[in-house]
């Protein structure tokens, strides 16, 4: 009986603590939400629309705040311009509606340019998420068509493998069917060793990884001019809103020049973001 009492009281202590912790979270979230409203009259708002389910570009943390590479960049832009930064999660399907109605100023969220070139006013791409094909430097494979009957390798669980196994993309699916076989490696080092030693004929990898290997092992590998898939991210504005685009772009260029951009990118190195940044090709 005594034990039971002790047990019940322990349970209730737990419940109270859990409740208090839950309340604590809620109140902090409310505070952070109300802060911008009080300062809204002071500064011009810069509203970034983003999909809150797209790490590492923009996502919701366990404590309920929004974080991400793109949001950090946008925050930095606002700090430099003295704007008030508003991160506005949007329904990805109604992004055009939000943008055209002026509810948001731009979409800054790992936004793919490829295929949407004429739908928005774009900054230059700052992240390249393409998947490329790497072969040995002395290989006679020079185009995707040469891969017929060859052994191609991709890392297990990588986006390259996902792309090659995607049956809904007819072009890639036909290409993958033309291979002699599609092999998987446990890590990229193994993949490049297999490629160098002639075990496989071609390796499909993210552009960041390929760049790194090509730079560090000069003359051993070459990258095919054709990509397996091309995907570049840029900041999208309502079509015709060139003024705001130019303003953002010039600040982003400044951020790149003074190192802030890469500093933010390095925060997300777990996602190999620093290797994917392609802004350097455009900064004058």
């Amino acid at each position: 009986m005594k034990n039971l009492k002790l047990f019940v009281s322990l349970i209730s202590i737990f419940a109270v603590v859990a409740l208090a912790a839950g309340c604590g979270n809620k109140t902090t979230a409310q505070v952070s939400e109300t802060v911008p409203e009080t300062t809204q009259a002071v500064a011009k708002k810069f509203i970034v629309g983003f999909d809150a389910e797209y790490p590492p570009y923009g996502y919701i943390t366990e404590s309920g705040t929004y974080e991400g590479f793109d949001l950090d960049l946008a925050q930095e832009f606002c700090n430099r311009k003295g704007y008030e930064f508003v991160a506005q999660p949007i329904d990805w399907d109604s992004k055009d509606l939000e943008l055209n109605s002026g509810n948001i100023d731009c979409i800054w969220n790992g936004f793919t340019v490829t295929g949407r070139e004429n739908d928005y006013t774009w900054t230059v791409p700052y992240v390249d998420n393409s998947i490329v094909l790497v072969v040995k430097a002395d290989s006679n494979i020079n185009a995707k068509a040469d891969l017929a009957g060859k052994v191609v390798m991709a890392q297990a669980g990588s986006s390259a493998l996902t792309a090659l196994e995607d049956e809904s993309d007819e072009e890639i699916f036909a290409l993958a069917k033309s291979f002699k076989s599609l092999e998987q490696c446990p890590d990229y080092n193994n993949g490049f060793m297999s490629l160098e030693s002639g075990m496989v004929d071609c390796l499909a990898v993210d552009i960041g990884v390929a760049k790194y290997q090509l730079n560090n092992s000069k003359g051993v590998f070459k990258q095919l001019p054709e990509n397996l898939s091309s995907e570049q991210y840029a900041i999208g504005f309502k079509k015709g809103n060139t003024a705001l685009k130019d303003e953002v772009q010039s600040v982003v260029f400044d951020m790149y020049k003074d190192g802030t951009f890469m500093k933010i990118a390095n925060k997300y190195s777990d996602f190999s973001l620093p290797d994917m940044v392609c802004l350097g090709e455009y900064v004058k």
Binding site: A156, M193, S197, M199
Partner: protein, 217 residues
């Protein structure tokens, strides 16, 4: 639950690759281990030392590393481009030689556990050295090494999962891939169950073998 069935079928798809490594290694490494045990016990010192060193190297370095050496060695050491067809032979060679080293030591312990008196008795009875070994020592050694050999065989079943280090997709690799694709750990437990069931069978069979050999009791 329909999902579980499809997971089991997919994981089983990788079981063939694991079984191929397992049986090939067993068939090659057991006799090879016996062959390595003799020079290891040789009275000629250089042979004794060489095999002692080879066995210590095989037992003292990770099997994972040995597989990488067998697979990539021909290219990075000799410049020979062998292609993907070298992968399965490299795995079987790597596993067999590594396991032969362990078996050699087990066989040596079995052979050396036979009392000297039996050799003397055999000699008195007019047995030749070959006859002594095959008719007197070997059968007794076989009985004594079954428990440690069973240990190694069980380890071998689980070690087959190392083959992915040289890009060979065996059962555990397949399970990991399904786990990643479906974001569930169920395939890993399914694979774990298969390893357990198979090892249970191994232990069961070896126990039967042990009993069959126990003909004097």
């Amino acid at each position: 639950m329909i999902n579980l069935n499809s997971i089991i079928i997919q994981v089983l798809g990788g079981a063939g690759a694991s079984l191929l490594i397992f049986f090939s290694t067993l068939v090659i490494s057991l006799p090879l281990g016996l062959l390595m045990a003799f020079p290891r016990m040789s009275k000629i010192k250089p042979i004794n030392y060489i095999f002692g060193f080879v066995i210590s190297l095989l037992r003292g370095t990770p099997l994972m590393l040995q597989l990488i050496v067998w697979y990539y060695g021909p290219y990075y050491i000799f410049g020979a481009t062998l292609g993907l067809s070298w992968r399965v032979p490299a795995i079987i060679i790597g596993f067999s030689i590594n396991y032969a080293a362990y078996f050699a030591e087990i066989f040596r312990s079995g052979i050396q556990s036979i009392p000297v008196g039996q050799y003397e008795a055999a000699s008195v009875l007019g047995y030749s050295r070959t006859q002594t070994f095959f008719k007197i020592v070997f059968p007794q050694m076989l009985k004594r090494v079954i428990p440690p050999v069973t240990n190694e065989i069980i380890t071998l079943v689980k070690d087959t999962s190392l083959a992915f280090v040289i890009t060979y997709s065996e059962m555990f690799t397949v399970a990991k891939q399904i786990a990643a694709a479906k974001t569930t750990i169920v395939p890993l437990f399914v694979a774990g169950s298969f390893y357990y069931i198979f090892n249970y069978l191994v232990a069961f069979v070896m126990e039967k073998v042990e009993k069959a050999f126990n003909y004097y009791k």
